[in-house]
Every structure is written in structure tokens, then in C-alpha cells.
């Protein structure tokens, strides 16, 4: 067979595989949206869930998902950033960093249900945080930290070594070089990593079932004092998220419109992640422009 023909076959096969993947994804997305979109209404998005009756919403779950996401990100991002900077910019390659990297690799492939059970035993029981947003946020931090660290480290890797030398040659310290030269240039790439991991965190259920709990007590959205038990901001209250809600309805939901609510919730979850993606990308571009005047 001549090489021209080989090339054609190879390209055809690759196109076929890529097309198949796109097709599967579109079919999934289409199915979720087609069965979910008709359920959506303002009432559905804002009303609290009902346990036995028709017509419940996912307002509380939606809020919980975002609140948990923000908390988990607020805890894990600084740690991941610090770890990545240390690993890539400061640490020398020796057995300590090898151990850290191996640990990160193993942690990143840990099944999320194991993270959830660990979170239950450690945060919920041992540290007596109970089923709470805080327990959930810590569990999600454990779940998120390895991947986020890896992705930030990869972002730093994409910035040329010459950029660092350029900074040092101007008499900047390593820290100044990192904060003034490397990080601004790495922002878009870091942000992409953050978005991807935020999507994972937003859709995570198994790690939260045993930590943030499966109940969503009614919230008083007029009360923003985080110390009140019915306040949405109270980090010590149990908080069922959207993903956990979907799992729960499908496994033990006894309301008559369980299927409809599950479809609607799934659509909301997907749309929220999509919106989050677009928004973050937009912000990333703006931020990069401001930092680099590109």
C-alpha cells in the first residue's frame, strides 16, 4: 500500500473516531436537554423541594451547589496554587518531590466515594462537624486538590524558561519573577484548569452524600446572618446539592413527579456548568488582557 493511501485511511479512521465521540456527546446532551428543558420554570428553579407531593423545585439544592462550589474552591485554590508553585518553581527533583508527586497522582485517581467515606469518618464524626456544608467543602477540597495542583503545575510549565531567566536577569527575585511575570502570563491556562475542576466539583455527588448530607432544610433567603440555622450562608447546616438530589430522587424518591424533577435537575446541572464555563472563559480573557495588555 502506498503512503498516500495509508495516510487517507489513517485520517478517515481518526475522523470516524472523533465523529463518534462528538455524536455520543451530542446525543447525551440532547437527551438530557430534551427531557429536562420542558420541566424548567421559574418556580422549579426557586421553590424548595417537596418530599411526597407533586410540584417541588430545586431552589435550595441549586443554591447549595453554588455555595459549596465557592467554598470548596476558596479552600482548594490557594492550596493548589501554593503547592504547584512550590513543586514547579522552587522544589528540586529529589525523593521528597517524587513522593509528593506520587501522592498527588494516587490521590487524583481515588474514587470519590472513598473520599466521601473518609470525609464522613474524619470531618463529620471525628472533628464533629456533622453533616454540613463545611464537611462537604473539605471533602471536595480533598477530591479537587490533586487535579487542580496538577493542572496549575502544567500551566506553569507552559511558560518558557526564558521568561523566568528574563525576570531574574533584571534583578528580580524568584518570587517577584513568579508573581509579576509568570503568573500573569499563566492566567488563561490556570483559569481553564479551575473551570474544569469546578465542573467536576459542581457535578460531584458521591463525595457529598456522606459529608454535606442528603437533606435540604428550608432556607430563609431573607436571613443572611451565617450564624442562624435557617440562613443560606450558615456553613454548619446540612446541604443537599443538585447532583446529590438527582441521585437521591432516582434511588429513593417517592414524589409522584420524581422522573420529571430528575430530568429537570439534570438539565439545570448541565446548563449551570455550561454557563460557568462561558463566564469563566470571558473573565479569563478580560483578565489576561488587563494583566498583559495583549
Amino acid at each position: 500500500m502506498d503512503s498516500k493511501k495509508q495516510n487517507k485511511i489513517a485520517i478517515g479512521t481518526l475522523y470516524g473516531i472523533a465523529g463518534l465521540v462528538v455524536l455520543i456527546l451530542l446525543a447525551l446532551l440532547g437527551y438530557i436537554l430534551a427531557s429536562g428543558l420542558p420541566q424548567l420554570s421559574w418556580h422549579f428553579l426557586t421553590a424548595p423541594a417537596k418530599a411526597f407531593l407533586k410540584g417541588g423545585g430545586v431552589g435550595v439544592q441549586l443554591f447549595n451547589s453554588f455555595y459549596l462550589l465557592i467554598l470548596a474552591m476558596a479552600i482548594s485554590f490557594p492550596i493548589a496554587l501554593g503547592a504547584a508553585i512550590y513543586l514547579y518553581e522552587y522544589a528540586r527533583d529529589n525523593w521528597i518531590t517524587t513522593t509528593i508527586r506520587t501522592a498527588i497522582e494516587i490521590l487524583s485517581s481515588l474514587p470519590s466515594v472513598v473520599v466521601g467515606l473518609f470525609g464522613f469518618l474524619f470531618f463529620v464524626v471525628k472533628l464533629r462537624l456533622g453533616f454540613s456544608i463545611l464537611s462537604g467543602a473539605f471533602a471536595l477540597t480533598f477530591f479537587n486538590l490533586p487535579l487542580l495542583t496538577r493542572s496549575i503545575e502544567d500551566s506553569l510549565r507552559t511558560i518558557d524558561l526564558e521568561q523566568r531567566e528574563g525576570g531574574l536577569a533584571l534583578g528580580l527575585s524568584r518570587w517577584e519573577t513568579i508573581t509579576r511575570v509568570i503568573l500573569p502570563a499563566a492566567v488563561p491556562s490556570i483559569l481553564t484548569g479551575v473551570i474544569l475542576s469546578a465542573g467536576r466539583v459542581f457535578g460531584e455527588a458521591a463525595a457529598l452524600i456522606y459529608t454535606a448530607g442528603q437533606s435540604a432544610p428550608a432556607l430563609n433567603f431573607a436571613d443572611w446572618n451565617p450564624f442562624n440555622i435557617s440562613s443560606p450562608l450558615n456553613p454548619m447546616r446540612p446541604a443537599e446539592t443538585l447532583a446529590v438530589h438527582i441521585w437521591k430522587i432516582n434511588s429513593e424518591g417517592i414524589m409522584p413527579d420524581a422522573k420529571a424533577i430528575s430530568s429537570g435537575s439534570s438539565a439545570v446541572l448541565i446548563i449551570a456548568i455550561l454557563l460557568f464555563n462561558f463566564a469563566a472563559r470571558y473573565v479569563g480573557k478580560r483578565l489576561y488582557k488587563r494583566l498583559t495588555s495583549a
Binding site: E162, G166, L170
Partner: protein, 274 residues
């Protein structure tokens, strides 16, 4: 007769020939004594005792892997953390190769421009101004003035004066390299180290860069590593020939190119190897 002549010439050739610059009019500003550089256990530079006169251009030439870049990068301690450098680097009477030296301050005196242009992902203006701001120059007029003078000295001002707020990443290779020079001289160094600054540039940009360097000589002492022997011949007063981690010959550029005293140098400058 001819054969005899060749033999006498060969015996007259030396192993090593070093003539340090005459410091009349150009006081020695930088010199190295007993410099050795190790990458791990591997020794990359065995000896390099050189002196550099101020406001002159010295070229470091030699085949790949001869240690010339390693030597250059040791001069402003860019090899810290990468290699072990022993020996003395005397800058204005102070040994800057000792732990007590503030390397960040020292690097502002001994600036460096690299092989590949490395403008930061910032505006043209900020590429030059941000290091100054970090060191406390915040006055807008003062910054504007330094940016302008630096760009003029690097012969880039006329091309970019209307685009100072545009990204430096949009500049061509030659312009980007000039920006890097402007950036390096903005912090007012004494010495400018250049590590093959023209190797990524086209011939026109290269010759412009050489003109710029000849102008800069009035204000700075320039040490340049180059693979291009014509370049060394065109712009430098002194040339050091490196081979296998040693300085084999150091003399005025005209001596090195017209009357080399070491056989290897002669082979190298006449293009027989390297």
C-alpha cells in the same frame, strides 16, 4: 624549503595564549580568577581567567559545548541553582561570586540578554517599566523618560513610540530582541552580557543589532557570546576563544583573526572545524 617553513611555524604555535587587555583608557571593570563550573559532577569549565576593559566589546567564541555560554552565565550568577561555580568574579574590586553578595542588586549592574528574545507578556511600556516600579520608581514622568531613553538607545523608539501600550508579544524577532536590550539597560547596568543575541534573527535585524551594540559601547561594557565569527570580527575589540571548557586564546580581535597563536584557534577561525 616550504616544508621546513611549515615545521617552524607549527613549533612556534603555542598551547595557550592569553594577553589580557591593556587597561589604558579602559580600566578593567570585570575579571575572573580560577573560575570552575560544575554541572553536578561534570566539570564544564576548567579555567577562564579573563579581564574585561570598560566600554569595550569582548566576544566569546568557540565551538558548541566549549563552555563560553557557561562562562557568560556565571558572570551574573545565572548559573546559581543550576551549576556550582567556584573561583573569583571580581566586579569593581568586589568578588561577586560569594554567598554574601545580594545577587538581585548585582544583576541590576550586570544585565543580560538571551539567545531567544524573551519579552514578557506585557505591554511594550510595561516590559521596561515594571522592574523599575518594583524598585520604587513610581513617578510617571521619570518612568516615561527612562522608557523613551532606553528604547532610543536600543534603536527601537521610532518604530514603537505610538504603540507603547500594545503587547510586546506582537513584535517581530528583531524588535523583540531590541526590546529585551532596552529592558536590560533601563535598570542602568554597567555591564551587558549577551548570549548569542542574534542567532534567532534574520541578517537585516542582525546587522541593525550590531550597529546598536556599537552605539551602546559608549555607555556599557559589553560581553557577547557569538557563533558568528564575522560578527565577532565586526564589533569586538577583544576576543576570547574557548575550546573544551578552556580559554585557549585571548587577545585583541584583530590578532585572533589575523595572527592566532594557538593551532586550534587558527583552525577554528579559518573554518576548519566547529
Amino acid at each position: 624549503m616550504f616544508i621546513n617553513n611549515d615545521v617552524t611555524r607549527a613549533t612556534a604555535m603555542q598551547e595557550r595564549h592569553v594577553v589580557q587587555p591593556n587597561d589604558a583608557g579602559h580600566p578593567i571593570i570585570l575579571s575572573t580568577e580560577g573560575l570552575h563550573v560544575f554541572y553536578g559532577k561534570k566539570e564544564a569549565l576548567f579555567e577562564g581567567d579573563l579581564q574585561f576593559g570598560s566600554n569595550q566589546i569582548t566576544a566569546l567564541i568557540g565551538p558548541s559545548g566549549s563552555g563560553k555560554s557557561t562562562y557568560l552565565r556565571s558572570l551574573n550568577r545565572m548559573n546559581d541553582r543550576i551549576a556550582t561555580v567556584t573561583g573569583k568574579i571580581m566586579y569593581r574590586g568586589v568578588d561577586i561570586n560569594q554567598p554574601a553578595i545580594d545577587v538581585y542588586e548585582m544583576r541590576r549592574r550586570v544585565g543580560m540578554v538571551f539567545q531567544r528574545p524573551n519579552p514578557f507578556a506585557k505591554s511594550i511600556y510595561d516590559n521596561i517599566a515594571f522592574a523599575l516600579r518594583l524598585r520604587g520608581t513610581t513617578d510617571k514622568h521619570e518612568l516615561d523618560e527612562i522608557v523613551e531613553t532606553s528604547l532610543k538607545q536600543a534603536a527601537l523608539w521610532d518604530q514603537v513610540k505610538d504603540d507603547l501600550n500594545k503587547s510586546a508579544l506582537a513584535l517581530s524577532g528583531g524588535q523583540a530582541q531590541r526590546l529585551c536590550i532596552a529592558r536590560a539597560i533601563a535598570v542602568k547596568p554597567d555591564i551587558l552580557l549577551l548570549d548569542e543575541p542574534a542567532s534567532a534573527l534574520d541578517p537585516v535585524s542582525t546587522s541593525q543589532l550590531e550597529d546598536t551594540l556599537l552605539d551602546l559601547k559608549q555607555h556599557y561594557t559589553i560581553i557577547i557570546v557569538t557563533h558568528n565569527m564575522q560578527q565577532a570580527a565586526r564589533i569586538s575589540e577583544y576576543t576570547a576563544f574557548f575550546n573544551q571548557g578552556r580559554v585557549l586564546e585571548y587577545d585583541t580581535t584583530s590578532q585572533i583573526f589575523t595572527n592566532p597563536q594557538v593551532q586550534v584557534t587558527s583552525d577554528y577561525v579559518s573554518g576548519n572545524f566547529g
